[in-house]
Subunit: 212 residues, 2 copies
DNA sequence: TAGATTGTTAATCGATTAACAATC
DNA sequence: TAGATTGTTAATCGATTAACAATC
């Protein structure tokens, strides 16, 4: 394979699923796995797993498969999960609070270092072990922790300004829960979580199920 | 084009974004839009929009573009959004409560008709205007409302059993927030919301940014 | 050794983009 | 009419799958 080619984004998006599945395997005390077996757990073909991994190197043994722990470590290294990643959360409504309280980020190398809301009634309150801060402190907190990751959980109408401020303050990758497409510079990564859109794509299939 | 071909899933997933953008346009008082203009708002090419729509019919006028309201109505009809969709939410932790309290579902044709948790301490409490019910009532509520949509927001270890029960009770499409890949029959639709995986794909790019 | 499974190449499949005749 | 923009076809691009030699 051509190690010069950058791996496609689809592949990068699948790597975290491999990581998770390998962690589960390890918890189950399974130390060796074939692309076939791994694939069955993630609903992905064996060929796709091997092809995906081939962008980064050779991690298995013919006739044997993959050493779970070794492969896990390798993919974690590829994803940069050997360091902890500081991130900030903006918008502490019900959703933002659920995000702030979710242990899954912390256990997976993602460390929330700042919570921000512009509502004066919320500022100062604690969520978990962090206080909600005013937007005026965004810049300081982001530079202090060198945070490059942010989660936006503010109302739709407010998301674009928040994104602008975050980027200005040094944020380079955003996970946006607000139902708006953000306009950002090319060197900023933006991903969306959009449950209503997902549900609407499902209603399509339910509405058309009996025509098929 | 060949109206006999089923539209690809990628296209179905984009339709809800068109719906949303068209709604925003309408709110802004804009009544006519070209594929070019619409595309700029959603970060999609004009050609892709026209191609996507062509799977379902002809909705625009040459030289003019699309009537916003008309196109909106058409896509809503295609997605089945002319009816309201009953759905249940299982798991009323912080996340489940945020979901239950989010107005976005209700305003977009998705009506939560039941909240379920197995924790006896939670059962009976109200979240918004609905009480949290025990799993024993799942079957009844689902059949009463003929719900075919469900959201799973339980801990990872519990998600597969919950899915099994839901499907047994008649659910046909699931949005799963738990970090596990569900094993389900072919006639059940499953989508995932997985913020940790998304963040991990972002750390990849941040970790490799300066090699590029 | 025989059996299993990798890594990789080539073939296939599918989605996006470009281009343009049709037409408002 | 001239200019703009659609709907659609064909070309391009990219991702998935199949197949198999290499090898544990």
């Amino acid at each position: 394979m051509d190690r010069l080619d950058a791996p496609p984004d689809v592949v990068i998006r699948r790597l975290p699923l491999y990581v998770r599945s390998l962690r589960y395997l390890l918890e189950e005390g399974i130390h060796s796995v074939s692309s076939q077996e791994l694939g069955e757990r993630i609903n992905v073909t064996a060929a796709q797993i091997r092809k995906d991994l081939s962008y980064f190197g050779e991690f298995g043994k013919q006739g044997i498969g993959y050493d779970v722990e070794k492969l896990l470590n390798q993919i974690e290294r590829i994803l940069g999960l050997t360091n902890r990643w500081p991130m900030v959360v903006v918008g502490l409504g019900y959703l933002g609070q659920a995000i702030a309280r979710y242990e899954g980020f912390h256990t997976q190398g993602l460390q929330i270092v700042g919570l921000f809301d512009r509502d004066p009634d919320k500022v100062g309150r604690m969520v978990g072990n962090l206080p909600i801060l005013d937007y005026t402190l965004l810049q300081t907190v982001i530079s202090t922790h060198q945070a490059r990751l942010a989660i936006i959980a503010v109302p739709a109408a407010h998301a674009q300004v928040v994104a602008d401020v975050l980027i200005e303050a040094g944020i380079r990758a955003i996970l946006n829960y607000a139902p708006v497409i953000l306009q950002t510079p090319d060197d900023v990564w933006v991903r969306y979580i959009d449950p209503v859109a997902v549900m609407h794509s499902l209603t399509y299939y339910l509405a058309h199920e009996h025509q098929a």
